[in-house]
């Protein structure tokens, strides 16, 4: 009888040691992919587009995004937690939430650039009027042309639990949207307009035009004129 019990205990201890060994092995050698190099694969050119975009301003930003997800605890896990929470003096403020969900955090640092300017492919023939030595040019509205947050600009600082690539990408898209809004709030479009007018004015002046008028489609405050004439050459 005792021999059987002893054998059972030895067996149980062996199983426990094996499980612990696997866990330790996975913890130490399971990941370690920082030094991994990606395999050499071809880069395929899918499309070549002719564009005419004038980039006039760039906004640099760095955001720290903190997100979390509450994962439904499994019944078995809840049972274990219930045993902990029912101990006297445990002091969990919101017992039901503690029992129901497990919280996983993800903190990312996103460094990005927001580019704004003009898409000249929107220009129509009527936007450029020339008479002798005078030119009138109507600018299209300034816009955010690109928000660049590349993988090398994106640092995952804390990642608890399992987060899919899609979830990480979604967070990156949120960062891009926020950066774009912040850039607009900082006045990137107004700056774009000022730079574009200055640039085109000097370009037309160098081409020999004497009267230069550059109009803007940018919505200004009501007390400002929509058409912003550039200074006329004397």
């Amino acid at each position: 009888m005792f021999k059987t019990i002893r054998l059972f205990i030895y067996l149980a201890l062996t199983i426990i040691f094996i499980i612990m060994g696997i866990l330790v092995y996975k913890a130490y050698f399971g990941s370690r992919s920082r030094v991994l190099k990606i395999d050499n694969t071809a880069i395929m050119v899918e499309e070549i587009k002719k564009i005419s975009q004038l980039f006039t301003s760039v906004y640099y930003d760095e955001l720290v995004l903190d997100t979390f997800k509450l994962v439904d605890k499994a019944p078995g896990e809840r049972l274990l937690d219930a045993m902990v929470i029912m101990r006297p003096g445990h002091g969990v403020a919101n017992g039901m939430n503690y029992l129901s969900f497990r919280r996983f955090n993800m903190v990312v640092i996103a460094r990005g650039r927001v580019f704004s300017g003009y898409d000249f492919s929107r220009l129509q023939e009527s936007d450029l009027l020339i008479e002798d030595r005078s030119i009138t040019f109507q600018l299209p509205p300034p816009e955010v042309l690109e928000v660049v947050i590349n993988p090398s600009d994106y640092e995952i600082f804390i990642e608890e639990g399992r987060w899919s690539l899609e979830e990480a990408v979604a967070l990156k898209q949120t960062a891009a949207r926020l950066m774009s809004h912040r850039a607009i709030e900082m006045g990137i479009l107004e700056q774009s307009e000022t730079i574009a007018i200055d640039l085109l004015y000097n370009f037309f002046k160098t081409l020999g035009f004497e009267t230069i008028t550059i109009g803007s489609n940018f919505p200004h405050t009501p007390d400002q004129d929509i058409l912003v004439p550039a200074p006329t050459l004397e």
């Binding site: 990606i38 880069i43 975009q53």
Partner: protein, 201 residues
Amino acid sequence: MHYRPLQITRFRFTVLMSFFLLSFSFCSYFEKEKEPISVIHRLQDMSEMATVEFVVSKVVKVNDVPGWYKYGDRKLLISCKARIKAGINMREIGEDDIVISANSIELRIPHARVITLIMDPESIKEEYSKTDFFRSSFTNEDRYAFLAQAEKEIKESIPQMGVLPQANAHAVAFFESWLRAMGFEHVHVIIKPLESDNLQP
């Protein structure tokens, strides 16, 4: 009063343990984002005319073959796309670069350079992932480290893709059409020789 001691038979124990272990896998979740903290921000001028956009694709292939102390494979395939915009710096066109005589004009424009390289988040997709029992799954930190390597490879292969010659050709076409629209009959647009290594964005 007689209490019957609680007897856990092997069958009950097996059923309970199975339920206990299986129940861990039935999970659902919701997530919430907090207000972001902006660390730095800066606004800067630029004057670049982008004349070409290349869309390129790459498959990120990772094969984590175990060493002597590891057991089990890890494999990952991620597909992604990048957009490269190139063009010329308008501020580098000075008065000396424009020569006008009657209805003829000669314009010298700077050599094209890469303006932006962006890996579209929408195009990043995990196509395949396999992790053996003795290994841990790839984290997003791992995945982004692999994507950063892919980004570097795309950046390094820009000279071989012919982005800049295309950008130069489109810039010449763009200025020729503009100058003709401005009334010049004879238009000659020349690319200035490349002065420095400014190919990277």
